[in-house]
Amino acid sequence: GVDCGAEPRMCCRQEFFVDFKEIGWEDWIIQPEGYHMNYCAGLCPLHMAGVPGLAASFHTAVLNRIKAASAAAAVDSCCVPTQRRPLSLLYYDRDSNIVKTDIPDMIVDSCGCT
């Protein structure tokens, strides 16, 4: 996967960190201090379709050439997460019990084109 630079053009992972203190949630969420709500952004022209990451194989290069050549008659694909991991939370519920849970698929690690 590719991380976005200053001006994301092609599909990449845009980092975004939510600081629980900033949103006033640090009193009921014990750990962690924030949430990496990364998201995918950028273009997926046809020749990038099906490229969840930069597979540098001959087959991929040929396939991209074919797609690029027929790009005029096709539509774009989407930039979506290709790898995600859980968000582990330790928090107080409304009865002041301490709850630990792992919420699956909450943190985007990498993006690619569908």
Partner: protein, 232 residues
């Protein structure tokens, strides 16, 4: 956005950085509350004392390593411990006792659980941790009763009564999985436990709430499997 209706990365109108940040913060709050099945963020909690919390975490870790060492992959009632990564969200809930009515040598404890978790999970394990400050020597009888309110909520009935012989001061654990499983189906999931000790012991509870020997319950629960609809 409904899946397949439009692609958020394709052709979204550019937002100003401030507006975009506010939208993302709002989305983060909504997403976390939804995954925790919370209608809104909980009120400001009443945290337990640091001593009680550290003792509880230490006992939980000791309990888990005992169980894992003796029965790798096995729950105490013989069911197989779900492997992490099976995809279902798991919860570990640590609930400290609230003291209720008492006499010179008995006391009622209440453990409250939130309806959000109770209503959408199945119990894997529930353990009650009690500390006995036994004065004197030799085996001394104590009684632990699990009480359940009757449907009208006015009286309570004893559902489980356990008699223990306490040799010396220390912690004991009691499996309360069945009791917690039944109360998790109630509107207000609250576990009530009654402790009774010999006359000369005095109160079965430590003198103050911040004592590190304060009773607590640990519940391990797993999100209920979603109800799958098979397309014919």
């Amino acid at each position: 956005a409904a899946k397949g209706s439009w692609c958020p990365a394709c052709g979204v109108a550019a937002l100003s950085p401030g507006t975009q940040r506010d939208a993302l913060l709002a989305l983060a709050k909504q997403s976390i509350l939804a995954k925790l099945r919370l209608p809104a963020r909980p009120n400001v909690p009443q945290p337990p004392s640091r001593g009680a919390l550290l003792t509880a975490l230490r006992r939980m870790r000791a309990q888990r390593s005992d169980t894992a060492a003796a029965f790798p992959g096995m729950l105490r009632d013989g069911r197989v411990l779900p492997r992490p990564g099976m995809g279902l969200q798991e919860y570990e809930i640590l609930s400290f006792a609230e003291s209720g009515s008492s006499t010179a040598h008995s006391v009622r404890l209440h453990f409250r659980f939130s309806q959000e978790v109770a209503g959408s999970t199945e119990i894997l394990q529930a353990t009650l941790y009690l500390f006995w400050a036994a004065p004197g020597h030799g085996a001394q009888p104590v009684t632990v009763r699990i009480l359940q309110p009757d449907p009208a909520g006015t009286n309570t009935t004893v559902t489980i009564e356990t008699r223990l012989e306490v040799q010396k001061s220390g912690w004991t654990t009691l499996d309360v999985g069945a009791a917690v499983r039944s109360l998790f189906r109630r509107e207000t999931p609250r576990l009530t436990v009654e402790l009774e000790v010999p006359e000369d012991w005095g109160s079965p509870l430590p003198s103050n709430h911040s004592d590190s020997h304060w009773p607590f319950v640990v519940v391990r629960a797993q999100a209920r499997k979603p109800h799958r609809v098979h397309r014919r």
